[in-house]
Symmetry: C2
Subunit: 258 residues, 2 copies
DNA sequence: CGTAATTTTGACTCCGCTCAATTGGCGTGG
DNA sequence: CCACGCCAATTGAGCGGAGTCAAAATTACG
């Protein structure tokens, strides 16, 4: 059975969180109430009254610099993390040392849910740019979701959505052709950027071709060729990591087509 | 937000469950306490005192005949299902009608967790042999897991394990060669059969080559060729759907880099 | 018992991989 | 500021693993 370190709300932010000032102006930075990612994050759907209590789950903030890992496969599990800013990849490494990227994550999304079951994180979580996360001790989440049904409900929603997302990736890897995979990825990324107020058509990829290839079940050269192909077809404009979507309908057509 | 139909424990088994006889001899068939799959099912880890309450979650039993679906993608979500006996596949159908099998499930495993988030099941769940499931209304699970921490804990464990399983499938689909995929599948199936008291080496596949191929991201002809290949190599003995593992170490060798 | 469905096997094809060379971007230090 | 080195990305040529198409064999099932 998983061993979860016990956290008490009163212990909140006794370390790791230099911004904690109980009644100070900077409290602004700590609260979920004032976080614009709230609705897609763990507290989504929790009413304002309960929100004040839920905020106590955020035990601390943690900065993770580009290239650093938030947690590694096998690390003891004690918390899940909400991305406050930045971009992450999660991955597994098999016995032969081969990496499989299992996902890319951005603001408002949760990391570490793969650790709940075994008491150890199952995969790695690495920042692809300088990032900041909210540390949410899972024992606190469980405690509080026993008292706040809306939180419980949303926790289950978030866990379930990760399962749905994973099944989507299985579909991508199991039955799509290379160009369909990349088109699916671009459309998905675009949608997620829009929700966060960024451009739907103009963005900077944080991952290398190799990492993207791993996620899509393709080799980096194939990914590169596909980008060139899509550009030639007038669907996108690529310049290294910068991508501009020119014809989103055309990308969707890539999926529908044959 | 998901709409979950409310169930009250008192409503238990008012229909769909002909075996419900409050103090009768057949109560034996209904209780989790007497179910040998208990430990790998939802009530796993719940102490005997609480178990009596948890049993009330099992609202009814439902028989699903071979070929019938337990639920379909898009159906309103209200319950998760524990497999009491039988064998299921879960799948997604994409816009073009292509099927992606997302998993195979057997006794003690849970189905339907993909529906929690959206209030609708995301995929299909189809019996590959005559089966029986325990119907567990999710609103009851949530209600009771607010009161019974051990149940809450195990619910989260089960959800998390599904995520871990899915990531394993991504690794399989994203970075393994065809023969590694089939070897991985056979080893996994063998382990799960053992836990349930069946032979580790001798079993009857419930799925067609096509369904297995879909799950493994291969064409049915490729699966068939691989079975023949493994047989020629003395790793297994195949006769249509019957498989006997002759050299489990050899199968593991297939994984340990060619 | 006959018909449909599934599985096996063969021959050939092609998509994505491998190997290799080149180009481009960017930080560091002279 | 430019030269250098490093890493990422692009592109080409050739190859091979798995797919496609087809036919035969075997089994399941009404």
């Amino acid at each position: 059975m998983p061993v979860v370190v016990a956290f008490k709300p009163s212990q909140k932010a006794i370390f790791m969180n230099p911004t904690e000032i109980p009644n100070g102006a900077r409290k602004f930075e700590v609260t979920c109430s004032s976080c614009n990612l709230r609705e897609m994050c763990l507290p989504g759907g929790v009413c304002v009254d309960d929100l004040q209590r839920v905020e106590n789950i955020v035990y601390a903030r943690r900065r993770v610099r580009r290239g650093e890992s938030l947690f590694k496969a096998g690390d003891a599990f004690s918390a899940v993390y909400a991305i406050r800013s930045g971009f992450f990849k999660t991955s597994l490494i098999d016995n032969d040392g081969r990496e499989q990227v299992t996902g890319f994550f951005m603001g408002g999304e949760l990391l570490g849910m793969d650790g709940i079951g075994a008491g150890r994180y199952n995969g790695n979580s690495i920042a692809l740019e300088d990032s900041e996360v909210c540390v949410m001790p899972f024992s606190l989440i469980e405690e509080m979701s026993r008292e706040i049904p809306a939180l419980q409900r949303h926790l289950h929603t978030v866990l379930s959505r990760e399962i749905v997302r994973d099944h989507g990736v299985m579909m991508l890897l199991g039955s799509m052709r290379a160009e369909e995979r990349l088109a699916t990825f671009l459309i998905n990324l675009s949608r997620r950027f829009v929700r966060r107020g960024y451009s739907s058509s103009d963005f900077h990829l944080r991952m290398t071709r190799d990492e993207l290839g791993s996620y899509l079940g393709l080799k980096l050269e194939t990914v590169s060729r596909l980008f060139s192909q899509f550009q030639k077809d007038g669907l996108i404009e690529v310049n290294q990591k910068h991508v501009r979507i020119l014809d989103i309908a055309g990308l969707e057509q890539v999926l529908a087509g044959k």
